[in-house]
Amino acid sequence: MTRGATKYLPLLPVYLIYLVLFLVAEGMPGMWQLMAMLVFYCAVGQAFNIFLGMTGYVNFGYVAFLALGTYGMALSIYHFHQLPLGVGIVLLGLLLAVVMAVLLALMVGAVALRLGGAYFAIATIGVNEGFRYLIEGTKIWGGSEGIIFSKQLLDTFGREVANKLSTFWADVSVLIIAALAALITLHFIRGKTGYALMALREDEEAAKVMGINVTKYKLIAFVTSAALAGLIGAMAWGLKLTYVFPPEAFDISYTVEGIIIVMLGGAGTLLGPVVGGLLYGLAKYWLTVILPGFQLLIFAPIIIVVVVAFPEGIVGMLRQRLKGTPFEPFVL
């Protein structure tokens, strides 16, 4: 096998998981939405991992990027549905989602990425909350009432297609975004960016004197992560749910879920967020059925145990175990 091909081996288990999820969802009646939920968590974990996992910085306002993506899709369909764009309106929504997420990331990055860890975490919470209150206070984008665009979607595409877009293509798109995120993650880890991010995560000052433009690489990771989040928001929250309300879109608990997924699976690894997303989503789904109301009480101590005893996460531990075995090249 050539060196080039070996490089892509770690993608195999990730894509295998996604393929199995897709096949189960397609083949078993009633499983589609559950799979969509799992893929959503995997995708969020992957997007988040690119910044949080690889740099070690905690972006507590991460959900703001998902929210902006949702608004991108909502604004596109709500305002431009009369343009003769056809499916192009969805593409326009995606474009808007990415552009808005990236712009916010650049603005926040310019201010906040110069700050140390704790200050950065607080600043990003501030961005998330501040943005939400800006929307509500100035009444832009529907203010606190948000945007509902089911009607515009129905008017543009007709009932059949609109339903298919919301309940099938939106989920498939999240799957594709997740696959894309995996590819980008691999490219980062194996490339120069990955070395820079590893160095700055371990010791930022040492990284600087080693010639690494830490601000640049942090910004690369931050913007990439934000753009992916924007795409996920546009599809998983926008096109799928066909509405956006600010308090839900900026709900900080999704940020925390993202952090938990990354930590559980293994920060900075390729496979980690996928495994973390799967486990978290499944646990949540089954606890909902078995012990409704006790999910959080069960999750919280698990979080503490994971961060205290297994900070490298499941995949991190797995990598140690598999060292020297034939499986090693597949797990990253």
Binding site: G30, L34, S144, A162, E248, Y285, V289
Partner: protein
């Protein structure tokens, strides 16, 4: 040998006969699915809803004798999962209910947001989708074909209050609106503003406050300066409690104070005590409301379902003795009207059921039911207005449902602190 063959033939015939009857005849049962919020932020409303639904399903099966379809009576079943009040979970559960459990109709989860969340999935699988806690009018402006609203839409929340106050004291003209900044309360405020203007009221103050607010002092100071006669406001429970409490702290006195949601809950009086005396609030339903078969007859409407007393008794069998509130009632009405629509349609085909829904006009313990045939928006049901009088909630409007008279104007907070009760003479 021959007996064997005949046995096989007989068996085949039997199978064919059974499968034929299953396809063309009545189904073995009718199932309603519900992604109910048993935990998370709507746990309280969701539990109430499940009690109300279970109570009415029991009534259907035991008193009504099941669902009458294709000349037979088949039992009605309730299939539910906890949606945790989370949007991700709602979509997967609705799909599961339709595809795996093969339910014939779905009751939406509580709240406008979650109701909209599930709507596209219900639409995709052509499932009747009954909103018992999604008051927002906007849900029914989206063109959903299978969505049906059971409760009064948000824009009508304060209509009854305004009609009542207009009748009692036409001289009080200055109205202040102070609502929570959110999709539901804003919709209520919009409806109230329009209705008030129609009655000739003067809006002297109109502001909102954010969700989860902890101190309303600055807003209330400005409100006091606007010198209103009547205040309409609120959003949910926590802010309503804060609203009334800080009105008392700042000693702001008006002739009438109506807060949506909060006032109707027993915990409101528990937390505020005498400060709650004389406050009014709109409710979708209230324990003791006078809707009954006689009232229906007077209006020329068909009565269907248990009476109020029967409903409360049944619901308390499932609630472990807790009193059902209006969340239980509005949800309980859903299976009743669903069964009625199925029986009228004589079929479980969703399009036929939906058509029958459009023609339905009847009264249940929850009040009138009539939807706009095109959008599914509720147009028949009206809200009741309640007032705290001597620690008891009394229904004061509309006259058809009222159990007592309005105390007006509301005593001042200073009077209440000295023990004055808002009991009409």
């Amino acid at each position: 040998m021959r007996s064997k063959i005949s046995a096989v033939v007989l068996g085949l015939l039997l199978v064919a006969a059974l499968s034929w009857s299953a396809e063309a005849g009545a189904p073995a049962k009718v199932v309603i699915g519900h992604p109910v919020c048993l935990s998370g932020k709507f746990a309280k409303e969701g539990s109430q809803a499940s009690w109300g639904i279970k109570a009415c399903i029991k009534w259907i099966n035991e008193v009504h004798g099941g669902v009458k379809i294709a000349g037979k009576r088949v039992p009605l079943e309730y299939k539910f999962y906890d949606s945790e009040s989370k949007k991700e979970v709602v979509t997967s559960l609705i799909e599961r209910l339709v595809r795996i459990d093969k339910v014939h109709g779905i009751i939406a989860p509580y709240s406008s947001g979650l109701t909209i969340t599930g709507a596209p999935v219900a639409e995709r699988y052509r499932a009747i989708y009954m909103s018992h806690g999604g008051a927002s009018n906007r849900i029914f402006q989206q063109g959903y074909r299978y969505a049906v609203q059971i409760l009064s839409p948000a824009t009508l929340y304060q209509a009854g209050t305004l009609d009542m106050l207009h009748k009692v004291d036409p001289g009080a003209r200055r109205i202040a609106l102070a609502f929570e900044d959110g999709e539901f309360a804003r919709m209520v405020m919009r409806g109230a503003e329009e209705h008030a203007k129609g009655l000739g009221y003067k809006i002297v103050f109109k502001r909102t406050y954010p969700k989860k607010v902890t101190d309303l002092t600055p807003l209330l100071s400005d409100l006091r300066a606007a010198k209103p006669d009547i205040i309409l406001g609120g959003g949910h429970f926590q802010d309503g409690q804060l609203f009334a409490r800080q009105m008392a702290d700042l000693d702001i006195n008006v002739k009438a104070l109506s807060l949506i949601v909060a006032v109707t809950l027993p915990a409101f009086y528990d937390a505020l005590g005498a400060k709650a005396e004389g406050l009014i609030g709109p409710a979708q339903w209230e324990f003791g409301v006078k809707y009954n078969p006689a009232e229906a007859k007077k209006l020329g409407l068909e009565w269907f379902g248990p009476t109020n007393e029967e409903f409360v008794k049944l619901a308390m069998e499932f609630s472990g003795g807790k009193r059902p509130d209006y969340h239980a009632a509005e949800a309980g009405a859903a299976p009743l009207v669903f069964v009625k629509a199925v029986e009228e349609a004589g079929s479980l085909d969703p399009d036929k059921i939906r058509e029958a829904f459009g023609k339905l006009h009847l009264m249940t313990f929850f009040g009138e039911f009539k939807i706009d045939p095109d959008t599914g928006l509720q147009v028949g049901h009206s809200m009741v207005v309640v007032q705290w009088q001597g620690g008891k909630k009394v229904i004061v409007w509309p006259p058809a449902a009222a159990t007592g008279k309005l105390y007006y104007p509301m005593p001042t907070f200073a009077e209440k602190a000295k023990g004055k009760k808002a009991i009409p003479k």
